[in-house]
Symmetry: C2
Subunit: 280 residues, 2 copies
């Protein structure tokens, strides 16, 4: 695994993007965060933590402790509470020195309203794009990663008009729309709704304690105890989203769906899913 990680990291393309479905820190083994730490350089890793989504003061220090227990070289909190903080030279210097960035849970709109469009957001995007910064996030911190972010929505497995709000995120990738706490909060409907407006991205629904390690080559690998639901609308033949009434159910046809568990992979470019190597 670590060989694969380092092979990918050496590519002169972007860094890893690692959305996590939430609650990963409650699991004793912390396998997802250990894997993320290895991707970021293990003992050489310098992991910055953005706790802005959370209103709890202990959130940042909690992740510092977890990453130090795992054995990363350094872990520290970026103290961002306001838009003014996103211009402070010491914050930008700390971010510039990091090999990894971890964004905690909370409210994703608190992240986008506080950091969106700021020098911090631009540095995250540029350093990830150049391959110098791997970026992971859990729950709200997962939602913020892509260009189109699910800000909030309603539960239920059937897509309905107006059941989801899409807003701009950090824009690390244009190719996916990420949802989290997926099985636990019955969110297939809002993910299908998101894709029914324009079936260009794929949808990724992450269960709790489950991560998508999206490599520089746009291959996703599943890590964790739950599943990832990949919703591929590229062969969609029809969407009624242009003609439905507000809150009415939406008709979509020919959606392809994969449920992948640990070790399973999905190639976003070729749209091919593979079960974990042990079982293929």
């Amino acid at each position: 695994v670590s060989k694969q990680d380092s092979a990918r990291r050496e590519q002169p393309t972007r860094g890893f993007i690692v959305p996590i479905g939430g609650a990963e820190e409650k699991v004793r083994t912390a396998s997802i965060l250990s894997r993320f730490a290895r991707v970021c350089g293990a003992r050489q890793a310098r992991i910055a933590i953005i706790p802005t989504a959370s209103r709890l003061e202990e959130t940042g220090p909690k992740y510092v402790s977890i990453f130090r227990e795992i054995g990363v070289g350094e872990a520290f909190v970026l103290p961002i509470e306001s838009r003014a903080d996103c211009k402070r030279p010491e914050v930008l210097e700390q971010l510039q020195s990091a090999t990894g960035l971890f964004i905690t849970g909370g409210n994703q709109l608190r992240i986008s309203t506080t950091i969106g469009g700021s020098p911090v957001a631009e540095m995250i995007r540029q350093r990830n794009r150049s391959g110098h910064l791997h970026v992971g996030g859990t729950s709200a911190g997962a939602s913020i990663l892509a260009e189109h972010m699910i800000a909030y929505g309603e539960e239920g497995s059937t897509p309905h008009a107006d059941m989801v709000m899409l807003t701009p995120g950090f824009g690390l990738t244009l190719n996916v729309i990420i949802d989290q706490h997926f099985r636990q909060r019955d969110r297939l409907g809002r993910l299908l709704t998101s894709l029914a407006y324009n079936p260009r991205p794929i949808g990724i629904g992450l269960d709790e304690d489950t991560a998508a390690f999206i490599g520089p080559d746009d291959t996703i690998e599943v890590v964790g105890s739950g599943a990832i639901t990949v919703v591929d609308p590229s062969e969609m033949e029809f969407s009624s989203m242009d003609s439905v009434n507000r809150h009415a159910p939406v008709c979509v046809t020919n959606i392809r769906l994969h449920v992948l568990t640990e070790g399973g992979t999905y190639d976003i470019t070729t749209r091919k899913a593979r079960p974990s190597r042990g079982k293929s």
Copy 2:
């Protein structure tokens, strides 16, 4: 003017992006469409028309007539009514041969649900990015051009939570969110709401019979009888969007606003507005 157009067109970057606020064809002089035709090559221009947003059969032929009267080399309708049409080789061949693409008004969700994520959408994006295709659109056809599209929303000049729906568009630019029929339909509130989620893009509100010629260098020039309202949130100090109740008014501070008329320019990179040269 035409010298400036061709100078920009020769840059090895993307083609022009030309959103129009609607109703441009009702004005006898058709100055916007004439300027668009010149950008596309005038007598050498081959302008493809996508009438998919409209349910009216005459929409496509109407624009063919207008462009032929203006004197473009060729103008033709791309017959796209379903997602299956977006894979037809003859449609893709016609689009491949075009120097300009014009997208008519109607319902922007009809464009995104029918064309989004298809080979036609991908060809539009790639040929615009490489500078081989200039893309203009009016009303719904303006909204579809950017990455974040206002699908629908409510009227009024004060931003409110949930008053606007943002969905993925054609993605020709990440830097702007476009709104149209701007003054005529009192849409400042929904444009401010769009930016209050994440103040990374700028907002462009287009009055009817008014166009933004967004050049390869990301400079906007205003053409037409109305005004363009540029909303720049890059110095925003606060947005309450993460904490407001549904439908409640939203607090945003330090938004910069410019109202530009014909000949005025705006540089998206430097965020500088200039009145028309005659008056500066």
